[in-house]
Symmetry: C2
Subunit: 495 residues, 2 copies
């Protein structure tokens, strides 16, 4: 931005990025804090995005042969302890159920009663409880592969929470598969990573790097963790989905054995993979601007808001009639093509109305007044353009072109995010430049991070730890395309 212009969100991204993020969530009515520590209420405008994400991912999963199932919320403590690394990774953040009733306490209020003989852990993830089922479902190679997904809530007691990004309870899906061979399990791990990348890029318009985590950053109990990493507008990375090759670790822990075609007995090879409501956090931080949220059309809660402009009471009938007929035409025309959601907002609140929808990130705002109607045209504002840029379009043209306009917006958002990530990703091959790049005082705007650096790494955990401690820079992943190009590990560190 050049000269200071009034923005709908205070502070701006440049002024205070984390606070801007929170204010966008408030202003767009996506979610609110709940009275339960670390938990959030996902409001309808935010939940609709999640419903769209669920719908897209669910179809993609099913296309690869995955079926949905549902496993208990509670995990007996003894199950949880079966895999040593796993329990170590999650023990410090578990909600534990210890009682199954409430009764009047000595001071009159209710107190927990009916202590359980074995405490139950509210699932932070379900490898151990699902592994128990798998051990009953598998006996022969004919029962394999098992390809299961569950849509569920999970709880990880977080000390520092941020809406959508890190909350004590969150919604996610967790896929769990079991295979007869190591190769097949690795292939599935990578396939699901690609599904996540496709979801992120084609629907959230969020460019990602597919990569492998270092040993230090692996999922507790995994042999190999793959991830997609996206650059946010503070130039930091967001892990937007992970896919784990679990080897035979959890199969051993849960006793998931099978008889091979050659009649030898072996443990199965398992994978797990998850994506969560955190994707919504990524979407906000990838596309939002200083006026609020910007929703990619393919996952938008709604696509078009029609705003009738009635200045004189005698215009009301004409303007409302025109607006409602237009809404009806759009809904009918695009009903089968794609679920395009058209809203009418006839609140009489002046300019606040348009700003409300700008903050909510709806792709298209359409104003309809008596003069527009006289010319059979509408006045269209696109959220991917600077918000003052509105154009008059013939109504016929708008109706005919709507799907194309939305596709164009989707494309623009992706292109813009991709350019941003590209512009802030450097290939840095020497230690000095690397160090300079990540030293805040060397940055143009110290509060905004430098970006991603593609840099070689010796592979030593000591080095990884050193850059993390000295410069708060972490190896986000070892990009997979580098595997292909160079045949070896070529890391991508970034904070």
């Amino acid at each position: 931005m050049g000269s200071k212009v009034k923005t709908a969100i205070t502070p701006t991204r440049a002024e205070d990025y984390p606070e801007w993020y929170q204010q966008v969530i408030n202003a767009s009515d996506l979610a609110e804090r709940s009275p339960v520590r670390g938990c959030m209420v996902i409001k309808p405008w935010g939940y609709a995005i999640w419903e769209n994400i669920v719908c897209v991912l669910d179809d993609m999963f099913k296309e690869t042969g995955v079926k949905n199932a549902y496993f208990p919320l509670f995990i007996p403590l003894s199950f949880f302890e079966k895999e040593a690394q796993h329990v170590e990774g999650f023990a410090t953040e578990c909600a534990v159920v210890t009682h199954h009733r409430l009764e009047k306490g000595p001071e009159g209020g209710l107190v927990p009663a009916g202590p359980l003989t074995e405490p139950l852990v509210v699932r932070p993830t379900s490898e151990t409880i699902i592994g128990d089922s798998f051990s009953k479902w598998v006996s022969s190679y004919r029962d394999l592969p098992i390809l299961i997904n569950q849509w569920a809530n999970v709880v990880r007691w977080e000390m520092r929470t941020r809406m959508f990004l890190r909350t004590s309870e969150f919604l996610w899906q967790e896929g769990h598969t079991a295979h007869a061979t190591k190769e097949e399990a690795i292939e599935r791990t990578k396939l699901m990573l690609e599904v996540y990348a496709r979801m992120a890029e084609d629907y959230l318009a969020m460019p990602v790097i597919q990569g492998r985590k270092t040993a230090a950053e692996r999922f507790p109990g995994a042999v190999d963790t793959f991830c997609i990493e996206a650059m946010m507008q503070d130039r930091k990375a967001l892990q937007a989905g992970t896919s784990h090759f679990l080897g035979q670790n959890f199969a051993r822990a849960s006793g998931i054995k099978f008889q091979s075609a050659e009649e030898s007995e072996d443990y199965v090879w398992t994978t797990s993979w998850g994506a969560s409501t955190r994707l919504i956090g990524g979407l906000i931080m990838t596309h939002g601007d200083d006026d609020g949220l910007i929703l990619p059309p393919r996952v938008a809660s709604a696509h078009v808001v029609l705003m009738p402009i009635v200045r004189k009471p005698e215009d009301r009938e004409n303007v409302m009639g025109y607006t409602e007929r237009l809404a009806q035409r759009l809904r009918e025309k695009y009903y089968h093509h794609r679920k395009i959601v058209v809203e009418i907002d006839d609140r009489d609140i002046g300019g606040a109305r348009g700003w409300d929808w700008i903050k909510k990130g709806i792709p298209l705002r359409v104003e309809i007044g008596p003069r527009d109607i006289a010319q059979d045209s509408v006045f269209v504002g696109r959220r991917d353009k600077a918000h003052n840029e509105k154009v008059s379009l013939k109504t016929e043209q708008f109706v005919a072109e709507l799907a194309n306009i939305l596709d164009e917006i989707q494309g623009n958002l992706f292109a813009r995010a991709a350019a941003y990530a590209r512009d802030h990703t450097l290939t840095i091959e020497d230690a000095r430049t690397f160090s300079d790049f990540f030293t805040p005082q060397n940055l143009e705007k110290p509060e905004i991070h430098g970006g991603f650096a593609r840099s070689p790494w010796c592979g030593e955990e000591a080095c990884e730890l050193k850059i993390k401690e000295n410069q708060a820079v972490t190896i986000r992943c070892l990009p997979l395309e580098q595997d292909r190009e160079s045949g070896g590990h070529y890391p991508l560190p970034a904070a």
Copy 2:
């Protein structure tokens, strides 16, 4: 049944109805017990039914203006205590979270650590936590109505559990609405009851009676509870959905106030309504027979299974090719019409293959062998007919007629269930006949209940209690159509 025929399920309904129910679930692979007390694992074949129910209900809700949102799993104890009757109703069956970590105990194993200052209740229902949000969302009549639904898991610690019907954790939806007037809230309560009735009858093919609960059977904290009740094949009633008019009870408890158009301040009027995975239990008990599950096509996990018959290896290529092309044609033809799921089962396990699908309740089994192919026909078994009745149909005709056949099956299942309910519902107006009807030794088969009795009731709770104690008969509901006909309460008692 006349003479004893071999059935796929042991015991039969007549021999031991509750055990038959459990065996149908096992044989159809719907669900299994979990190692967590009172919780179940919903397996893919069962979960797919739930997905279909969710899809249908969700659309119906949205058509009435309801939007989805998500509220925390945990409810602070202090919130839960806000409504006195409510807490009394649920206090004896609450899972309580008291700690937020695990650490090594004195004996080496993990023990709960990090005690919470205020225990958290795992939601058994969400009136109090959602009420807290509503109190922030509402200030003026312009903010009303609020029409919210949430798809969620809830926990009610049950001592005696039965799969799908009563489990400690279950999946459900809970709708919560707030209104400016009492009349509007009552209208919404009844509207949602009608939505449930439509779901039950038009999709689950399960005829229901819409009615009002007696005071003794009301939801804890409600002013009025409405329900749909269906007759199972043991002639007992199943409550399949409830809709509650909550008056201003929860509004007062959570402080949900609004300023009316006349600028006076008042509490809002709220409703809540829920349906759960229990619907699947109802579906099993309404349609299942002694060979297993029978799925109504509109909520079936899959609709058609194609079973290639390959007796000689040299036939394989021809038969499999024909089968796959047929599957492809069906999938393409019916892709837009309705989501018809076609499976191919080419397992080489003899007659067990057909029986597997009979037990799973798939509407149509199609056998395809070399002789069928030579005549361009297929051999079709319908699950709504006695299972041995298979007919040869020209393949063209089968492809053309598939949707109609499924509709016919749907209609047959409803008609059969409706006839059963009608045949076992008596109007009984005197106490002696009523008493005889519900005395087991007077029944033809003492292990099967007599059915429903439509009988007058004085309205006294003492009477209600007496028939419950003496004859284990409960007033399931005061049917709504009687409201209309007689203008008064005309009860329908049944066990």
